[in-house]
């Protein structure tokens, strides 16, 4: 795996501002259609909110994976700490927006939910910055292991600081998200889109969609700008980067901060998605466990290290596939004959993305992103260098 992190795929920006390329109308039409489909997704699912729930879960993965791919792929810092920042984000949101609970033994500041969500993201960024002395000194697998320690720290703190986290017994409910007076909950009467009532789950879908698109665009902007160039310079050769005037320590700290803030946002989304903030009971299974850390790493490797669209594709595969298989299993009776100890949706998806990781590392280190680029080039029959870059 360290092999992959030291030789990431080609994702460099064009060396000089390229001459203005002709507009790719096909691409614009495709993106527009895709966005329209996403906006209309609640209409397709109708009252069958289960699929909407799965969609929301994919969007959480998108935000987290986009943040991680910037850190691992662009800045070259291997991190397994995503679940820790998910936990910090979720707990921060609950503490900032929450009240003191029925029995009054929880810390809650009662801030407006929007302020609390932004605050949670900022807190995660600052915690990530506090880790900079470590992330600045270590590289590759060493940094990966060091960051993994944060997951254990999160497990311990979540269990011991139960006035913040609600404790492992019951956890605490995160306050309902609201933008001024518009609450992300079921209401009567509810607005409708094409005859489908926009209730809690539909509202959360649109909220998550806006957050995910915002996260995507910000990340793409960062990767294409001076910041991204500095990350790649540090990743490829620290001495050369220093010679070019890049402040290596500061750039490394910045990358970790930004990635942590992204994971924090995904944590806030997780809390809203689960309607619950509850620290895990052990480090292996749970919402903030090592399994989740590996899942996020799989997303960015499958997608292609450093590629923002690749991270999105990885999130769809890793977070979406188990959910869809599980729903299909109930709806169409898949796996019904192989119940006890047989293949289950969760097991099969773990194999699918495990195999995907192996195949990517062996045959296409650029991941799904590189495959996508190649397909685009075949279609265009001429190389547009860097055309589909994140």
């Amino acid at each position: 795996m360290s092999e992959v992190t030291v030789t990431p795929p080609e994702t460099e920006a064009p060396p000089t501002p390229a001459p203005r390329r002709p507009r790719n109308w096909l691409k614009i039409a495709g993106v527009t259609l895709f966005l329209v489909l996403l906006v209309l997704f609640p209409v397709f699912t109708g009252t069958d909110v289960a699929y909407l729930k799965a969609g929301q879960y994919v969007l959480i993965g998108v935000v987290g994976a986009v943040g991680l791919t910037m850190l691992v792929g662009q800045a070259g810092q291997l991190s397994l700490a995503t679940p820790f920042f998910l936990l910090v984000g979720a707990v921060s949101y609950a503490v900032l927006a929450g009240d003191s609970g029925d029995s009054g033994d929880l810390v809650g500041l009662g801030l407006p939910p929007v302020v609390a969500a932004v605050g949670a993201v900022v807190i995660c960024g600052l915690v990530g910055l506090a880790f900079a002395p470590v992330s600045g000194r270590l590289r590759g697998i060493y940094l990966g292991v060091a960051s993994l320690s944060l997951v254990f720290l999160g497990l311990y703190l979540g269990q011991s600081l139960d006035m913040l986290s609600g404790g492992t017994s019951t956890g605490r409910p995160p306050p309902t998200f609201a933008i001024f007076d518009f609450r992300f909950a079921n209401t009567e009467p509810a607005p409708t889109i094409l005859g489908v009532a926009v209730q809690k789950q539909q509202r959360l879908w649109y909220l998550f969609l806006v957050l995910a698109i915002g996260a995507y665009l910000l990340a793409r902007g960062a990767v294409r700008s001076r910041i991204g160039r500095a990350w790649r310079a540090v990743r490829d050769n620290e001495a050369a980067a220093t010679a070019m005037g890049v402040h290596v320590t500061r750039v490394k700290a910045g990358a970790f901060t930004i990635s942590s803030a992204y994971a924090g946002l995904a944590g806030v989304m997780t809390a809203l998605w689960l309607d619950l903030v509850k620290p895990d009971e052990n480090e292996f299974v749970g919402t903030y466990s090592i399994t989740v850390a590996i899942g996020y790493l799989a997303m960015v490797i499958i997608g292609g290290l450093g590629s923002i669209p690749g991270a999105v594709a990885g999130a769809v595969l890793v977070n979406g596939l188990p959910q869809l298989l599980t729903l299909g299993a109930t709806e169409f009776g898949w796996f019904a004959d192989a119940r006890f100890g047989g293949p289950s949706p969760v097991l099969i998806s773990a194999f699918v993305y495990g195999v995907a990781v192996v195949l990517v590392v062996m045959f296409e280190p650029g991941g799904l992103a590189a495959i996508g680029r190649r397909l685009a080039h075949v279609r265009a029959a001429r190389p547009t260098r860097g055309g589909d870059r994140g």
């Binding site: 879960y57 009971e281 959910q323 109930t330």
Partner: protein, 422 residues
Amino acid sequence: MIDRRRRLAALAGGLAAGLVLAACGSTADNASSGGGAGGVKTDKGVTDTTITLGVMTDRTGVFKNLGEALTGGNELWVKDVNAAGGICGRQLALEVVDHGYKADTAKTLYPQLEPKILGITQLVGSPVLAALKQNLIDDNVLTAPASWSSEILNNPNVMMIGTTYDLEIIDGLAYLQQQGLIADGDTIGHIYIDGEYGGNGLRGSKYYASKHNMTVQEAKITSTDNDLANIVTGLKGAGVKAIVLTTTPGQTASAMSNNAALGLNVPVLGNNPTFDPALLQSPAAASLDKLYVAASSAPFSSKTPKAVEVANEYKATYPDKPKNAGAQAGYVESLVWQAVLEKACQNGDLTRAGVQTALKSLTSVTTDDLVAPLDYSIPGAPPTRGVYIAKVDQNAEGGLTEVAPLFTAPDAQGYKAPHQQS
């Protein structure tokens, strides 16, 4: 996609209706409860011919042994009830989903399941229950959880089957004191898994200690710790006169073998989930004889006639399924549902709200002694305070002999559960 799904759903619905009609045809003669469609109010999960209950179980995760046995118990009950003519003139059906003990999977499965069911007769996993708490309240879905923590009783939609972990410990310690194994002023050790399960057990020993001037030496572990040697050594140093366990069976084995190996040899009291008959085949088998288990339901090998009947039926129907007390627990979950449904039918209201009303009016549900009589009239209180106390016995079938059937300590009567309202 929607069209296809609808068509599939219609097809499945048609098939199900056909099957149900066929089933009705064969059992119509001995349908006793009568009423049929006429005069009974219904909403979700109940048609003129069928009452559907949900099962959210674990068939592929860490609790798949328990989940399979519980589901087997549920299914046996459905078979028995349908053979006797159903409830309220309707046949029973289960809608089973597998969440693999993952809260995120369950969160997605729930909205798919919810419109099809009246209530839930089995829900495995405290993380799952915690994540679904608000959904169950919003949709008013009455749920029998496979979790016995009194912390979850603040959810009005939870129908506890049997007593809770805290009361198991209170009753168990009272039994040990009655037998002269511990005395007022003693120090007792409590090894518990941090989480809903362990936290609730600890609440029981703290309460009992406060009543009897005892000191509780707490030892917190996680569910993945397997070697408890240093913890038992620490408890020995603290001079404990008894050890309480709220752990997994594997951890019980470690605690018991260290209790013997270190020469501590104090009596050990465990909650229901601490013992598994498989421990008798483990290297710790020889050191298990000091273990007392306090459980709200009878052990798999219990001599209670109904328990024997369920165990035999289960072994005959599911020769391949794991054999553990989950079979009776699953059966009893559904028996309580049966009492609720029959009451709701009498009231002429099989809606979700009607089921809630029926539950709250039940003050003594009997289950042929599979669990103590259950009283659901006090919100937030465990429905019973009695436990079966059993001791590990190599020669007994299933490894446990009952030493005190349905034992309720005076201290347990005075105990106020965390969310108890009166």
